[in-house]
Amino acid sequence: MNKVLKYVFLAIIAVLIATVPLYSGAFITRFLIGVILYAIMAEGWNVIAGYTGYPSFGNVVFFGLGAYVTALCMINFHTPFILSLIFSSIAGALFAIIIGIPILRLKGHYFAIVTLGIGETMMAITFNVPFTGTGAGLSLPLASNPNLFYYVSLIVLVIFIVFLKFILSGRLGYGMIAVREDEDAAKMMGIDTVAVKIKAFAISGFFTAIAGGIYAYWSTFIDPPTVYDPVMSIKMIIMTVFGGAGTLLGPVAGAFIIIFLSDFLSTHFTILHTFFFGGLIVMTAIFLPKGLMDVLSQKGIGWKYFIENIRKHRV
């Protein structure tokens, strides 16, 4: 009986979430689209970093690429939106494979910084090649129904989570976690670590690029500093880490809470908002390096938990 109740409850929640645009105003829908797009990106970072242990600091590169592919397809070839998104996702995955082959051999700081550099390089290149509109950016056609973006992004997020759950229960998922934990031991178990890393990076690039494509059509205007902004990479990271890296729903929770707080502060406490992201990152790194999900899984939590985190990590 309890189980039935639980499923009924979950089903009601699911219906409520799926129909938000029907009963809420444009403001809330807009806010939720932002949350969902960031949740997709954070989950994308989670795949390569949270599960596979390769902390990319330049995942925004897939977002930017996806945004540009969708924009260029829709402007130049009048490709339908959904088809453009598919092109974006393929471009994101292919780009991840191409850059992944050389850079996924790098470890630690080197991998992190080189990904940061690739983001900046793509921004510089986009600024300079003529068909991307250079620094002037690109304008997309207006969508007839703004609620479209809510449904599309929600469906993509749900597909991503279901897909990830499926992956995690199979050999690829176990392989990713083994690579994160100890790459040499993973190799010796017969795990093709190179293939595992490239697949994980491709999944990350695939979905992050879709988020970029949705964003492009949604915002109707893109330019290099917006869609290749390195701070976006950091937002994906902090949302995942805050929620819980290496957990399925942590990034979604992180995206929701952080965007909510950020929006709230920016409307009501503008000055505080200046300190928000930087401060949040510093506090999270010190007190919550394992994220919210880890806190929730503790029995009886108190000051000790946070002090223990500091004690373990300080010099």
């Binding site: 050999r171 190799k187 010796m188 178990m189 017969g190 093709d192």
Partner: protein, 248 residues
């Protein structure tokens, strides 16, 4: 019939020769002990055989197939497993998850996932860590970590197992149980074992045959009793240390 065979295996690191024309052979079902002073190339030899390093020259064949220079994951999938001298547990996973991960790979790579669970459980039982299945490695003792390392290796369903100093850091009693464990596992799983060890008591106790490396070259290979009386071996390795152990 040999299961693995090396011919003139040589490995050098930017000019420095770590292994020089080493010939070796391990017969099916045999336990071969590899001894030698520190820096004599024991771990390097294991690393070369298991694919961590590519041999500079020479040929290694496993069941008469040339495997020299294959990548580690391919070698593992052929049925060769190893442990590491410095254990490499997956720190954020439980003992069961550690071994269950192993059971999905190695020679089991093509078996449906549902059939690998049993394999993981039996590997944990074999090493006697069943009670600790839900523990994380952080709360295990050194002896238990070494057992976990062995459990992960045998969960890969290997035919040939390399053990790199599985007894180092263990006390006498733990050493004894680990020795028994190795013999039992060999019986149950029809394994061939190639192991590196420092404790002569262990080497003498369980080896069918012993091979000695010195400065990257093989200086002796034979029955345990012949090895301990071999002039070269005594001079290079056993020396006073062994006599002291014997008298103690």
């Amino acid at each position: 019939m040999n299961i693995i065979k090396g011919e003139k295996v040589t490995k050098s690191f930017s000019g420095l020769v770590a292994l020089k024309n080493v010939d070796f052979e391990l017969n099916k079902g045999e336990i071969l002990g590899l001894i030698g002073p520190n820096g004599s190339g024991k771990t390097t030899l294991i690393n070369v055989i298991t694919g961590f390093y590519k041999p500079t020259s020479g040929k290694i064949s496993y069941k008469n197939h040339d495997i020299s220079g294959l990548s580690p994951h391919k070698i593992s999938r052929l049925g060769i497993a190893r442990t590491f001298q410095i254990v490499k547990p997956f720190m954020e996973l439980t003992v069961l998850e550690n071994v269950a991960t192993a059971a999905l790979f190695g020679r089991n790579i093509h078996i449906p996932k549902s059939q690998t669970r049993e394999n993981a459980k039996s590997a944990i039982e074999a090493v006697g860590l069943y009670d600790k299945s839900s523990y994380k490695p952080g709360s295990l003792s050194i002896a238990e970590l070494k057992k976990l390392e062995i459990a992960k290796a045998i969960a890969l369903s290997p035919e040939l197992l390399f053990l790199d100093e599985s007894m180092a850091g263990l006390n006498l009693k733990e050493t004894q149980t680990t020795m028994d464990l190795i013999l039992k596992v060999r019986e149950q799983r029809d394994l061939s074992i190639f192991f590196v060890e420092h404790v002569m008591k262990v080497v003498m106790g369980i080896s069918d045959r012993i091979m000695v490396l010195h400065h990257g070259e093989k200086i002796a290979d034979g029955k345990p009793n012949d090895i301990v009386n071999d002039e070269n071996v005594i001079k290079a390795y056993l020396g006073k240390r062994y006599k002291r152990q014997k008298n103690a």
